[in-house]
């Protein structure tokens, strides 16, 4: 009476039932929308990579893999992604460890400091680094005024700036999986190791670290794969030499209007992403990582 929802009695729920149960049909609208607005566009890119210009076949891929400059961009992308992953692990591990050993309430506050940056605008956070690092930025102005330096330090438009900015933005993706694993490690285990004569460092290294390994793997793979696709941050904080594959794709579309090559590179980036994620999914459920982003 009140709404046109199909709930006419409890007719016909045979043992086998229909292909799609009544509850199951609720998922259909979203799946239709995602197929039309997300899956088809992705397939279109795959098609364009081999048909634009007409009859190109694998030509765009050949062009990409035989062009030295293109390969340098790919190498650069890998290099920056690896350094970011290492940096995030080095900084995120102690932070997550601290979250795991402090009282629950303090850990909750520490979690908020990870969630707030995660949800704040990536563009604003990148802009903040630009304001801090550029020649007339906060650090250089301060040092010049204090007469520590006479020329501004080259803090921006280089690999250093790109890695600094990206690591800060990606850090939450390292901390959350690490923390979710460390939280479940029984503190009695390290205590037992200490009782058996292990020093505090040995107990940490031989017991705690190996148990946190799934978190290390999940966090590292997630940060790595997200770093591969970064566009805004390397474009603002880096120079042309720090061009990563995303910027390269955007330039092919916006400047050179070469959709075929751009699509081929997009497909390569997608394949890389899914390969890394397939490895990651053996260690952790992606859903858990993203679920943690809304908890507190």
């Amino acid at each position: 009476m009140s709404a046109p929802v199909a709930v006419k009695g409890r007719a016909g729920r045979a043992r086998r039932g229909p292909l799609i149960s009544r509850w199951g049909s609720l998922a259909v609208p979203l799946l239709v929308l995602l197929t039309a607005a997300f899956l088809l566009p992705m397939l279109l890119i795959v098609v364009r990579s081999v048909t634009d210009p007409a009859d190109i076949g694998a030509g765009n891929y050949v062009t990409f893999f035989t062009n030295e400059a293109d390969m340098r961009v790919l190498g650069n992308t890998f290099y920056i992604a690896v350094i970011c992953t290492v940096a995030c692990l080095a900084v995120g591990y102690p932070y997550a460890y601290l979250m795991a050993i402090v009282p629950q309430r303090v850990a909750g506050i520490m979690l908020v400091f990870v969630l707030v940056p995660f949800w704040s605008s990536l563009l604003v956070r990148t802009f903040a680094w630009e304001v801090i690092l550029r020649d007339t930025g906060i650090i250089n102005t301060l040092l010049l005024n204090l007469k520590v330096i006479t020329e501004p330090l080259p803090l921006i438009r280089n690999t250093f700036a790109v890695i600094l900015g990206m690591s800060q933005i990606l850090l939450p993706f390292m901390v959350l999986p690490l923390y979710s694993v460390m939280q479940r490690i029984d503190p009695e285990l390290t205590r037992a190791a200490a009782n058996l004569g292990a020093g505090p460092f040995a107990a940490f290294r031989r017991v705690f670290v190996p148990l946190s390994f799934p978190g290390i793997t999940a966090g590292s793979l997630l940060v790595f794969v997200l770093a591969l696709g970064f566009y805004i941050t390397p474009t603002i904080l880096g120079s042309a030499r720090e061009t990563m594959i995303s910027r390269f794709i955007a330039d092919q579309v916006q400047v050179r209007v070469n959709w075929g090559l751009a699509s081929a590179m997009a497909v390569i980036l997608m394949v890389l992403t899914f390969t890394v994620l397939a490895i990651a999914s053996r260690f952790v459920k992606l859903r858990d990582v993203y679920g943690a982003l809304g908890e507190s």
């Binding site: 799946l31 607005a37 932070y95 704040s120 304001v131 794709i249």
Partner: protein, 265 residues
């Protein structure tokens, strides 16, 4: 000996933790006072206090229309994503249909496919239907990007809810729709509401897909900011950044409070 070693270790760790917090939130906070400067350039510390840059921001149609467009897109996205996402979460949790694993992967994949790929893909697809640079096109695009957060949030609520309550309602004679509306929906509402707020946030801050999906006629705030940041940067940009941050922080706080009040049983 071991005790003092442990204590020093702890102290070092705490100092380190505070440094990381500063590293995470410090840079964004530095921008806030810079938008209130009485001077003519972006500087820290700002010279004097003034609202001149906020005045300039509200006088510039590029910023004001960007602001209104962003708000419109984010609100519509939150509504569409939370309705479709809640339905899908219910369908996946309770229903039966072929290819459920694939459906799950499809729903989560917008989180991990590089945004640049989504951006050029959606542009070249949507442009064929004249949907680029329109409210409808942007809402569809942002719904795809933000619906995973709704599904995850609602699924969590569904898992923690007590299904005996539904059975009790049914036993007392409520029909399925009434049971859903009076029992299930109120119980999962915090998850739905938090999901809607997360969808709002995702849309509000989204840049890369928006760069491709908008045109000069219809731009969102982050896109206008992106174009400004690459040119001359005056304190207006700091004022805009502050508005973006303030909105995010308010909505996120609301989302976290809502989630925390979720009935845990």
């Amino acid at each position: 000996m071991t005790d003092s070693f442990r204590r020093w270790n702890r102290v070092l760790l705490v100092v380190f933790g505070i440094m990381i917090i500063v590293f995470l939130v410090g840079p964004s906070l530095v921008i806030v006072p810079m938008g209130f400067t009485a001077g003519q350039i972006l500087e820290f510390p700002p010279s004097g206090f003034s609202l001149q840059w906020y005045g300039k921001m509200f006088a510039d149609p590029a910023w004001t229309s960007g602001f209104l467009n962003s708000f419109e897109v984010a609100v519509c996205t939150a509504v569409v994503a939370s309705v479709l996402g809640t339905m899908a979460a219910l369908g996946i949790a309770r229903g039966r249909f072929p290819g459920k694993t694939i459906a799950n992967a499809l729903i989560l994949s917008p989180l991990v496919v590089p945004v640049i790929v989504i951006g050029i893909g959606m542009f070249s697809f949507f442009v064929r239907f004249k949907l680029t640079g329109t409210l409808v096109g942007m809402v569809i695009a942002h719904t795809a990007l933000s619906v995973p957060y709704v599904v995850v949030s609602v699924s969590t609520s569904l898992r923690s809810m007590d299904r005996n309550l539904e059975m009790a309602a049914a036993n007392l004679g409520a029909n399925p729709w009434r049971t859903f509306r009076r029992i299930t929906l109120p119980l999962i509402m915090p998850g739905v509401f938090a999901g809607a707020l997360f969808a709002f946030l995702e849309s509000w801050d989204e840049v890369v897909v928006s760069i491709f999906m908008t045109t000069t006629k219809f731009r969102t705030l982050p896109v206008v900011m992106w174009e400004q940041v690459r040119q001359v940067v005056d304190p207006t940009v700091a004022a805009v950044a502050t508005v973006l941050l303030a909105t995010t922080t308010t909505v996120l706080t609301l989302a976290l409070v809502v989630r925390r009040q979720a009935p845990v049983r």
